[in-house]
Amino acid sequence: MAFINIKNKEVQAKIVYYGPGRGGKTSNLEYIYQQFRDRIPSEMVSIKTHGDRTLFFDFMPFIVGKIKGYSVRIQLYTVPGQVKYDATRRLVLKGVDGVVFVADSLSVQRKKNLISLKNLQTNLAAYKKDIFKIPLVLQYNKRDLEDQGIPVLPVDILEKDLNQQLKVPSFPASALKGDNVVATLKKIISLTMVAFQKGLT
């Protein structure tokens, strides 16, 4: 849950990028890091394996600016996507305020998206959070691969697979090229802030 410091007029919120392994969660943060160096007061922290896979999480603070006189600082995290790292994934979700689910558009990854989304629901429930209530944005990543003739799932199939019940905002994106990475971030920040104001989280 977010931390609001009335004395220093500061809000800290935690946003977690979730999704299947090799889906582009870290690439999202890397793009944001490159684009907004002036809003990121420190280095991006990554705990990864020698094979460059996320082992625990990536972390990066992001200064949004002032909202109603409060300086808003968002803590961006990714989780390790690989199935075997469920324990660490659950740890990173502790105190989460908003989630970006990064789905892999590759046709061969269709089932992995579903498993990961279900896993998100289970792990949120461990903290008594409801996937239908928490601020959530879906991102259909790797849309750029379509241009290279690699089979990707059409957006309407991804919508049907993942968003039929959730009905949350979704973005086709390319974390590598940066398409809709910022739009995704803006959306989740705005949903998270609205949820604070409503006192829903």
Binding site: F3, I6, K94, G95, T201
Partner: protein, 142 residues
């Protein structure tokens, strides 16, 4: 959960008012910084900073330290459970010039101290234990 227009600090179902927060900051300063600790953080287990203080010479990235400490603490606690322990009492990392000591204040809060050779681990542990007890008392006043 408070909105950020309310006059309180809010996290994990609890809230601290400005007076309580000031009291905590005073404790961190008098119990720890005044005794030679370089930097101290009070964080929640999600990695948010609740209060912080330093000796003015510290150039530590406190937000990253908070995020990593919360995760590290969660991981160590999970390891303790695997070997049949509820928790490990001593969490301490010794460096050449800077060392880290972690203390669990209660189920929500963690205290992290960064210290050098000016203060012994024994004295530090005692001072951290005092500070944690003071913070627990403030916490119970809700």
């Amino acid at each position: 959960m408070a909105s950020y227009e309310e006059n309180s600090v809010s996290f994990t179902e609890n809230s601290l008012d400005q007076r309580q927060l000031e009291e905590i900051e005073r404790i961190l300063h008098s119990d720890l910084i005044s005794n030679g600790v370089h930097c101290v953080l009070l964080i929640d287990l999600a990695g948010n900073i609740i209060a912080k203080d330093d000796n003015g010479a510290s150039r530590i990235d406190m937000y990253s330290l908070a995020a990593l400490s919360a995760a590290n603490f969660g991981a160590v606690e999970a390891m303790a459970k695997i070997v049949g322990e509820e928790e490990f009492a001593l969490l301490f990392h010794k460096g050449e010039s800077e060392s880290l000591y972690f203390g669990k204040v209660n189920n929500e809060l963690l205290i992290i101290t960064v210290f050098g050779k000016e203060i012994s681990l024994g004295l530090l542990r005692m001072k951290v234990a005092d500070a944690m007890e003071h913070i627990r008392k403030i916490w119970r006043k809700f």
